[in-house]
């Protein structure tokens, strides 16, 4: 390791800009002559659109103006998929509160919102569908021709035989409520057509897919659309979708010939950006008296809202739940079926932990309930069921191949870190006091770094699967790195530069990671599903290796030595055994463009490399949460938190810790606070940050103690993705801890004070 290479705790290089107010987010893009757009959105969950009338001079644009502009119509290659097509501005019918119906532009957002108030849309309300169970009834109103947007089932082994053999048959129903990613910066889109190129600034996680999708929807050639990703204020999956507003703003720029900007406000974000989760998992768990799980059967019903989202579709979340559900446990017999059901609510999409958070919640709750039935300690029952460390690589009952992980080791070490026996003693003593103390454990596996093979096998045809990096060394020896995957705060300008510094043994100061721009950068899928340190890093390492090979050859020519004898250290290249026969990296960069006579050097020092991971690589670990519940108020405090996790080799410990802590905080929110509530008429109730409660500093445990196991993967660099682990395991660990504290079975999140009081009432 160099001081700045892989494993170094390098403070981030993007921070100077972010700390001094010099960052440029989506709402900070100034173009002269720009107008502001504002949307007229449906107040009804389900209605026919009648007349749209403007009582002022301002022009309003509706679906009829956008005739011929393509709908959002995600594809899926496989059985059981009922497609939907969402027009960028609703035509004929609206299907959720907040769906865009019309758009106006004005010189300022203030004036645009004045215009919105003068647009009158008449609606003929239709009966709404407010939840999945209602949607499945035969007489239910139709959101689409078929309310089931995806159905799928699969079986591995013989779960029927397992149920017959079982001593214990546990049946539980675990519910996860609808929540939303809530990045602190909402979405923002700015578009301008210069007569040749449509340029769109949008804080998307997947600029190349947005470019393709916009070109497709607008009937343009892809090479005339440019997507630039400005500084982005968080994404967490919400910004990995194509949205109606992106299409409409781009269309307005084409139509009006002036730059157009739309900045989402918080209410729009809370009602009309994608939401997540909202699943019911009915789980049947067949076990022996000694706690060994013989088989699992899961029925997963997801309330996916009004439309499929592009590119993930509504299948992604429930299919993810089904695939991850057996988790790190050696279960051989498993059957599942999935229903993704349309309702008149905002579409659901990706959110940190997609599928895995709910899958882990269901399985880990089942483990605790089974432990109780079998009279076992929750840690002991997990030990008995975990895949042994020497059995990895391991093919799970759902067909996932865990390429690494030491599940027993993680559980043992988190228990040692937390001093588990002592925690149980403390808990016993505390029972006499006013607060109830609970301890909860959750084990998990996390699939990361998916490539084209995995996406195709699932049926996801709209996601390419590869990432790419280009490196250009200029004659001044500045190393510019161009990526296909933008950062929403993860720190690519630092970590990807560290990879280059590691390979080239040059100073970090020489390396500049450029913002992602589809016109100058190489093609890829984007930043989601914990893929950067696997797919992205793979591409960067390959590109850097090619630069190293080229630079070595140039140095060899300059030094009149065989490239095989050239060594690298600290910005210098020298002949092995003769350190004074040396050139600097600057000499090499110069020589690549000003070829010395007779040197035989071929010009240029550039590389473009792609990496398409052949299969997912798995992170894993165990979380342990300690909570205090006040039975008088129902208030839960997370008093202690412990993690033993394996994300392979660590690229930058500061950033790994940041991802972990941030994920745990989101998990605490999902477990204890957050709920995108709707009433039974499908009206959204959480439309401000006073109703949608995000975790505050006061909700976070005083410290999170962590152990990293660091078993490297086979991927370039040995990394495993780790962006989601915190958010995957924390809700389950906290749910288990709360159940343990109050002695009442917890089957639904979130566990707000009122939820806990009603659980206590029912338990008493």
């Amino acid at each position: 390791m160099t001081g700045t290479g892989i494993g170094a705790a390098v403070p981030r290089r993007e921070d100077a800009r972010l700390l001094t107010g010099r960052a440029r987010y989506g709402g900070d893009i100034p173009l002269s002559g720009m107008v502001a757009a504002a949307f007229i959105r449906s107040p009804h969950p389900h209605a026919r659109i009648g007349n749209i009338r403007a009582d002022s001079a301002g022009q309003v644009f509706t679906a009829s103006h956008l005739d011929g502009v393509g709908p959002i119509a995600p594809r899926w290659d496989g059985q059981g998929f009922f497609p939907t097509a969402q027009r960028p501005l609703a035509a004929d019918k609206v299907r959720y509160v907040g769906e865009p119906v019309a758009v106006v532009v004005a010189r300022s957002r203030y004036e645009a919102e004045d215009l919105v108030e003068r647009i009158h849309v008449s609606y003929e309300p239709l009966p709404p569908v407010s939840d999945a169970q209602q949607a499945l009834r035969p007489q239910a109103p139709r959101v689409h021709e078929d309310n089931v947007l995806y159905r799928w089932s699969a079986a591995h082994g013989d779960p029927d035989a397992a149920a017959r053999e079982a001593d214990v048959l546990l049946r539980i129903a675990i519910g996860s409520s609808r929540c939303t990613a809530s990045p602190l910066e909402g979405r923002a889109v700015t578009a301008w057509h210069d007569g040749r190129t449509l340029c769109v600034w949008t804080g998307t996680q997947m600029p190349f897919l947005i470019r393709s999708a916009l070109a497709h929807c607008l009937g343009l050639s892809e090479n005339t659309v440019q997507v630039i990703v400005p500084d982005t204020g968080g994404g967490f999956g919400q910004k990995m979708h194509l949205y109606p507003e992106e299409i409409v703003v781009a269309w307005l720029a084409l139509r009006l010939g002036i730059p157009v900007q739309w900045i989402e406000d918080r209410r729009e974000n809370l009602v009309a950006s994608t939401q997540a989760r909202e699943e019911q998992v009915e789980l049947e768990c067949a076990a022996r008296r000694d706690g060994i799980v013989l088989g699992l059967r899961a029925h997963i019903t997801a309330d996916v809202g009004a439309y499929h989202v592009f590119p993930t579709t509504a299948a992604l979340e429930p299919l993810g739940v089904a695939q991850i559900l057996p988790g790190p446990y050696a279960v051989r017999n498993y059957a599942y079926d999935i229903l993704a059901v349309a309702t008149n609510k905002a579409p659901t999409g990706a959110y940190r932990g997609v599928g895995m958070t709910v899958g882990v919640l269901a399985m880990e709750r089942a483990m605790d309930m089974l432990a109780e039935r079998c009279g076992l300690d929750p840690v002991e029952i997990r030990r008995r069921n975990l895949v042994p460390d020497d059995a990895v690589p391991y093919r799970s009952a759902s067909g996932l191949v865990y390429d690494g992980g030491a599940f027993q080791e993680a559980l043992d070490r988190v228990c040692a870190l937390a001093d588990y026996p002592r925690l149980r003693d403390i808990q016993r003593v505390a029972q006499a006091g006013e607060k109830r103390v609970g301890v909860g454990v959750a084990c998990y596996v996390e699939y990361t770094g998916l490539g084209s093979a995995t996406f195709r096998r699932r049926g996801m045809v709209d996601i390419p699967g590869h990432e790419a990096a280009a490196i250009k060394v200029d004659p001044g020896a500045t190393v510019r790195v161009y990526l296909s995957f933008p950062s929403q705060g993860q720190g690519h300008e630092t970590t990807m530069a560290q990879l280059v510094a590691e390979v080239l043994r040059i100073s970090l100061d020489r390396i500049v990671v450029e913002r992602v721009d589809t016109m100058s950068g190489p093609h890829g899928s984007g930043t989601f599903a914990s893929r950067t340190s696997v797919a992205g890093a793979g591409a960067v390492l390959r590109a850097a290796a090619y630069i190293r090979e080229r630079a070595t050859a140039i140095a060899g020519a300059l030094l009149e030595a065989s490239p095989k004898d050239v060594e690298w250290a600290d910005d210098r290249l020298f002949v092995r055994g003769a350190p004074l026969r040396a050139v600097t990296f600057e000499d090499v960069a110069q020589a690549a463009y000003r070829i010395p006579q007779g040197s035989g050097i071929t010009p240029g020092l550039e590389a473009v490399e792609y990496f398409d991971p052949p299969a997912p690589t798995f992170s894993s670990g165990a979380h342990l949460a300690v909570v205090e519940v006040d039975p008088r108020t129902g208030f839960t405090r997370v008093a202690g938190y412990f993690v033993a996790e394996d994300c392979g080799r660590i690229l930058n410990p500061l950033i790994v810790r940041g991802q972990l802590l941030g994920g745990i905080a989101q998990g605490i929110g999902e477990a204890l606070l957050e709920h995108s509530a709707y009433d039974d008429q499908a009206q959204p109730l959480a439309t401000t940050f006073m109703d949608y409660l995000l975790p505050l500093a006061a909700d976070i445990p005083p410290e999170v103690r962590t152990i990293h196991l660091e078993h490297p993967s086979d991927r370039p660099g040995g990394f495993r993705g780790m962006g989601e682990g915190g958010a995957i395991a924390a809700p389950a660990a906290i749910a288990n801890a709360v159940a343990n504290a109050i002695g009442v079975q917890v089957t639904r999140l979130p566990l707000r004070p009122e939820d806990i009081l009603s659980l206590l009432e029912r338990g008493a």
Binding site: P11, Y110, E185, G186, G658, A665
Partner: protein, 152 residues
Amino acid sequence: MVNGQARELDVEVRKTLADALREDLALTGTHLGCEHGVCGACTVLVDGRPTRSCLMLAVQAHGHDIDTVESLGTPDHLHPLQQAFWEHHGLQCGFCTPGILMSALWFLRERPHPSREEIRELLSGHLCRCTGYLQIIEAIEAASGATGGRRQ
């Protein structure tokens, strides 16, 4: 006065201070995360006290001193508070950061030797969706040390 300089502006009465700072003075370091006074991203100092600039009209700032994140350090010369956030990885996407910096600046002036608990309390006026807060608490604690504060 904005960031120590006298500034004169004609603004619509209804315009918020946040929008005037961002649009009329190009001080886009002040961010809008909710526009209803909860998230704290738009926090600036008004006469030295932290204030939600989304809940204040620009005309109300007439005759008052406004300080925004741009009044702190520059990329080459970070303010000690910014330096502490940088060293402790106290930010990820950075969107909430300017508001937190301005609150913390006031806080450390009022309470140069805060306890961790007091820092948590201060931070509970701000939403951060990325960091999970602990690294922000550590950064503010370190900054208090750097400015001569002692831990309790």
